[in-house]
Symmetry: C2
Subunit: 699 residues, 2 copies
């Protein structure tokens, strides 16, 4: 970000002013305090637009680079377009159901459609930004890694701020127009539906392409990663955007709006109108804190230094942003809560801190188990004894990696409940998500640098350029690990918050495990998780097979492909992966929506509560285990490739490649999809609860 200091100061002061206005909104003479929140959202959207036009003005590189980037753009847009087409059908069915059955009609249905549109639009923007930023990052890396960092980071901010800004703005307006919580629920449900599709579909796409590209390219033909002769290489790069930008983005965004709405619903029940506004104000403060934090992230102006030194430098630069935004958030919410509420606001503040703390413990645990620390190094060592031992070791370690996160979430649950009851759990989840702007910026930064490295390789740019991009990407891997831990933890808290919301909206005060129907619900919840994970894994393996066959076909049919004399048909591979991903996504998507509905119709409402709890209880550790196993195998391979245990080509390396391939669908498809699953069932239950009582078979 080459903008001048003076610009930073202007933006920063504006943001700070609105933070102050948020804290003391009740003292301003406004028709509705929520105008402050709207102002915050407008500011962030304008800021994002400003960053966007700056980014687009940058040099997009040589013609060859632009052509490659064009392929990635086309592929990503084709995928998203097709996915949206299915999504539209799916959403219309749900919208119809809502329009017929759920009061206030047709507002719930309409706000559901609004929720879908906002989420789909924001993801579209995010993708479009990322596929334009990648080539500009590569181009900037020709000049200096520091400049490339600026481009990538700023593109992350654009996506993040558009997503979060649109979300908070829509929600705020919605609460101003409709006082009925059911309308807000509709909005969240829209976000969930989009997230389900983008996460599951995107996850299956990205891993089919990745595994397919590797199995033929690296293993059979023996050409390196991102080699332009590999017909699946564009699909692989498309996958990064589809999976990590659209997928992860819509997932975290979903956690964000669902945390807010759960807190608003429970807040309204507990505290009245104040309870609705408080979460929104926390959201506004968090959003602006992220913006100010991002202003503190300045591209390091320095030359040279070793690879490790550069990595550390980039890390530190980003960490400054994280620290600043978190400190601002904590201070802001402290003053807001102690001053705004009539009652003692301190317990609510503790819940915010608990949520924030939970994310900050789980992140480093994830990093410990998946980055170059003892567990991963041990695993790399054990791969000398062959792939079987490596896989066994990986299972042992990844199972162990769930222990601390689960304990932390259990403690967070008890503690936040202690401070503020069910509302406390929802507030904790708001606290965790409030800083999403910053988190998402860092998360979207990763795939952009990854793509940039790919473009540099494919366009045969100078070796140094690729190295620059890869250095930036290495930092991206750590932030991705943190984001994954965060996504899972936030899913858990959001799921708990929605369980609480379900209790309150259905008026359940007790769902006891002494009741056989609740026990049955718990079991069915557990079952859904296994069913869902089985179907998504199957989707990846079938998709990968299809890609493998197409790539093999191209290598044998297209004359001179291996010698670089002719070009592969990239589009065809993207096409095949798209069709398979969308096809495989349908069944798990539909099942996870139908099973809770069915259960709600057959058994009692308490059984549905059991279902939510069961899917969370089984899905959470499984999601953590899969994500960490995949991450650890991936990095064990990288550790060996860095020259340890006899390095590339050794027995250990071959074993580690197998481990990595096994981990791929676990960490990038199933694990993340489980996040959505455990959040989805809760929303299904809350939204369709009126239907249950209407049709109850009353067993």
């Amino acid at each position: 970000m080459a903008q001048k200091i003076s610009f930073r100061i202007v933006w920063g002061v504006l943001a700070l002013l609105i933070i102050l206005a948020s804290i003391f909104a009740d003292m301003l003479d406004l028709p509705d305090m929520r105008w402050v929140i709207i102002a915050a959202c407008v500011l962030i959207l304008v800021f994002a637009a400003y960053l966007l036009q700056r980014m687009l003005k940058l040099d997009a590189g040589s013609e060859a680079m632009q052509e490659l980037a064009g392929h990635i753009q086309d592929g990503a847009q084709t995928f998203l377009k097709r996915e949206y087409r299915i999504l539209i059908v799916f959403s219309l069915v749900l919208a119809l159901l809502l329009a017929v059955f759920i009061e206030p009609r047709p507002w719930v249905s309409l706000s559901f459609i609004l929720g879908t549109l906002v989420s789909a639009l924001a993801s579209w923007i995010g993708m479009s930004v990322a596929v334009r930023a990648n080539v500009r990052t590569a181009s900037a890396a020709q000049e200096h890694w520091s400049k490339a960092f600026g481009v990538a980071f700023s593109s992350g901010s654009i996506t993040a701020f558009f997503l979060v800004g649109f979300g908070l703005l829509s929600l705020t307006v919605l609460t101003m127009v409709f006082p009925s919580p059911y309308v807000w629920l509709g909005f969240v449900f829209g976000a969930t539906t989009v997230a389900l599709f983008l996460r599951v579909g995107g996850g299956i796409f990205t891993k089919s392409a990745d595994i397919g590209a590797d199995l033929v390219g690296k293993v059979e033909v023996g050409i390196p990663e991102d080699d332009p002769r590999n017909p699946a290489t564009i699909a692989d790069n498309v996958g990064d955007n589809v999976g990590d930008i659209a997928g992860m983005g819509s997932d975290l965004y979903e956690s964000y709006v669902s945390a807010l709405v759960a807190a608003m619903v429970l807040g309204q029940i507990t505290l009245g109108q104040e309870g609705v506004i408080i979460p929104l104000l926390i959201g506004a403060i968090g959003l602006l804190s992220s913006m100010i934090g991002s202003l503190f992230v300045r591209s390091p102006k320095t030359d040279g230094g070793s690879y490790e030194w550069q990595v550390r430098k980039v890390h530190r630069t980003m960490n400054i942003g994280v620290y600043v935004s978190n400190i601002l958030l904590v201070i802001g919410t402290y003053f807001l809560l102690t001053h705004f509420l009539e009652m003692d606001g301190l317990p609510i503040f503790w819940c915010v801190l608990i949520g924030l703390g939970t994310g900050f413990i789980i992140g480093p645990v994830t990093e410990y188990y998946t980055s170059e620390h003892k567990p991963v190094i041990d695993m790399a060592g054990s791969s000398q004894k062959g792939p079987a031992i490596l896989v066994i070791q990986g299972l042992a370690i990844s199972n162990m990696s769930t222990v601390i996160p689960i304990i932390v979430i259990a403690v967070a649950t008890v503690a936040s409940f202690h401070f503020a009851g069910l509302l406390g759990i929802a507030i904790a989840s708001v606290g965790m998500m409030a800083n999403l702007g910053m988190l998402l910026t860092m998360d979207c930064y990763g795939p952009v640098t990854d793509n940039a490295a790919g473009i540099a390789e494919m366009a045969k740019l100078d070796h140094k350029v690729r190295e620059n991009c890869e250095m930036l990407d290495a930092v991206g891997n750590t932030t991705a690990a943190l984001a994954k831990g965060f996504a899972i933890a936030s899913a858990a808290l959001a799921a708990l918050a929605w369980l609480a919301t379900y209790f309150e909206t259905v008026n359940i005060t007790i769902a006891s495990i002494t009741d056989a129907q609740v026990v049955a619900g718990l079991f069915i919840g557990a079952m859904i998780v296994y069913l869902f994970s089985s179907l998504t894994i199957k989707g990846v393996s079938e998709g990968a097979f299809a890609v493998v066959e197409e790539v093999r076909r191209q290598f044998s049919d297209i004359q001179g492909l291996l010698d670089g004399l002719s070009k592969p048909d990239y589009v065809k591979v993207v096409d095949i992966a798209t069709i398979h991903a969308l096809h495989s996504m349908l069944l798990p998507g539909i099942l996870t929506i139908i099973i809770p509905l069915l259960l709600g119709l057959i058994l009692n409402p308490e059984a549905v509560a059991g279902l939510l709890m069961g899917s969370l209880l089984v899905g959470l550790p499984m999601a953590i285990q899969m994500a960490n196993a995949g991450g650890a195998w991936d990095n064990a391979k990288k550790h060996i490739e860095a020259g340890n245990f006899a390095g590339k080509g050794s027995t250990a390396h071959k074993a580690s490649v197998i481990g990595d391939t096994i981990g791929d669908p676990l960490k990038d498809t199933v694990g993340p999809s489980l996040d959505i699953l455990i959040k989805l069932v809760g929303k299904m239950a809350v939204i369709f609860a009126p239907l249950f009582s209407l049709f109850m078979l009353g067993l």
Copy 2:
């Protein structure tokens, strides 16, 4: 079993008479109806002793065979002795705790010790029988496979009837002397403690030896399975006895007594004295039904026929026993329940049927997913694409394989609760276990034939002999799969029954998931499962490493070992595997006992209920998934070795060997150990509940 028809008739008539006496026990003029049950137990023990002396009289084969069998005997006994030594220390600590804190003092503690002794003794007998039967089976196989079948089956009966007979007898006497349920609980807790050690320790031992033997023997040195030159081959055979006889036996036995006691405790609360006697009478009827069923299993008197034909024949022969015993059980309990109880006994009868049915659905599902059906054949096919794809496919299939069992258990829970409340769940679990005599016979038959095949190979007997034994072993693999499904399902029902017992003994009527402490308990329960599985997997991999090193050392240090000129030091390998297994067993064992205790002391009793439910909910599908993944990989390998997909030595075969090795600890160590875990926490909770209230921190 070459006994004459007349003998069979005498035994059968005696058993039938006592079944009739059990049904109409209330009409007999007895000081206590339970004398009938004692008579049943005495009959079965005498029958077992009769079979035993017949078996011991059989030819034990050549000197070479006896020497090899002697090594296995010594190894198994050494292992068990050492394990018992640790067990004694562990049990004494628990006994002391019980003696100090749990009323009625010191009876709970003493009956705990009794429970430990009975279980340890019965397992010892079972092992001693098996390690004598193996060589006699091999010897009989020199004559005819039909004769060998008779020996192996009869040895299974001996073990089964001793185990079940001792268990039922002790329980019956205990209820006659002590009317306090807490004393009976002590007895079960003893059985649980023994099962924990035998299952976990035995599981780690058997897989360390197995993987260690394969990694060096098959992979590095290139000698076949059971080659006498492999120093780990005796340890491998010892492992079969230690894991499959002592481990599986003590596990199923534990399910048996805990189902009975749970039903007795809940029965006493619901129906008074009648409620205590009913489960015992069902047990007696089941035991004698098994005995009569086993009398119907007659060695097929026929020569020739293809391998497949023989397998089918043996299957059919055993199935006759299963059908007869089940039909007798159903008829017997129907008359017992409709006539004995003052109230309408039919609902209780339905619960028995539900339990029986659950086992009979889950068994074939397990078989479908792990034997040579579509899933396994698909997996074998996918191994052509390398080990990574095979493992991914295996995960997809094994996750899917949990779906039906979980639904069945959920339905069984709701249905049996519908018929008879919490008692109904316990009765269902009694119904499932009542026929344990037959089930255990079939289960213990497998490892004996497996060992026999090993001895035939090691003693270099005629090829035909080994083939005979392997044919019998093939049937054993199917019965083992059924037994595994049964063990898991019974663990689930037993765990639910103990949850119910916990509710009743602690007087909890509600443990609601609206209570944050219950939610925390659920999470901690989930966490224990992951912690436990991580530690046990780690135990296997460390044990296997140690065995690998020792085997490598022997191959390099002992001159002429590979040429068959000198003998390996079998004892040393057994020693090393033993030490590692016992060492690795301690931490998971202690943790699973301490964590529920701690939670009970820190949080409320409802949180402990959450813990039980959480560990069941997470442990059950994981146990099923691991068992089935391992079984499927194993059989995918066998399918390839039978000549499919290019057969032995092909790429597919190499991949399948890796899959098999990964599955080994999952199916034979972790999965089965999880059975114990989910049963153990329930017992811990019930037994130590008085302690919780004594020391409650009262958060």
